[in-house]
Subunit: 140 residues, 2 copies
């Protein structure tokens, strides 16, 4: 069963716009913003409205294909739900993003679950801090 069939089975349609949004998420290596997706799509297909991108991200999330999170700014970041789970380190100084193996986060997830009954989704939120380079600069 293709993704398109899957979408149809859920009472939705596979439109050109929806496909383009999915493809854009596919191509984006890391978390992207709706505006970035819209920008890339519109570079080639300028007829497509940004609001369509927002609406598609919303239904794709509802259907379980994508999810979103917030890094250290006010912008919503989107990515495929089936992406390999990994954590994010974001430097609050230089803004650099770095991926880390999910295994590093697993012990915390386990503890939160055992001690607080909380199903943490550590792959979704970024860990904010100061990266090695910036730390080196500020400490001399």
């Amino acid at each position: 069963m293709s993704l398109a069939d899957d979408i149809r089975a859920k009472g939705r349609r596979m439109t050109v716009q929806r496909r383009l949004v999915l493809d854009a998420l596919e191509r984006a290596r890391h978390h992207t913003t709706a505006e970035e997706i819209a920008r890339r799509i519109r570079a080639r297909y300028p007829q497509i409205d940004p609001s369509t991108v927002y609406r598609n991200l919303e239904v794709l999330e509802e259907l379980g294909y994508v999810t979103h999170t917030h890094l250290d700014d006010r912008v919503t970041r989107w990515f495929r739900a089936d992406a390999e789970r990994h954590g994010h380190l974001v430097c609050r100084r230089c803004g650099a993003e770095q991926e880390i193996d999910f295994q590093v986060l697993a012990p915390l997830a386990r503890r939160l679950r055992e001690e607080h009954g909380f199903r943490a989704d550590l792959a979704h939120s970024a860990v904010v801090g100061i990266c090695r380079q910036c730390a080196a600069v500020s400490s001399g």
Copy 2:
């Protein structure tokens, strides 16, 4: 040396508005938003403009008295820099916020520092997931 003196020593002034913002942060138990602070101040002193609150939060952060973070939405959260360090669990389903002891997060912070040279600020970002209650509901 009082906080006012400290501020003056840094070439800034202690104005009524600045004091009100500091007091509002003092009274707020948890992280608050600039709008919430403005709302509370304006309930009693309606002359004070929201933009003044934003500007004050900015300089107070620059001076090191307050910091901000982002939970699971697009809104900036502010709190006193000297507040006791603690983590936040935010439920993406019901929105409930829960504080956790910083000790729970410490091992991860240590590992990120040792393995990635990254100075994580785990007290700043919230951990997103599903809380015990919501998990109970969805699993039957």
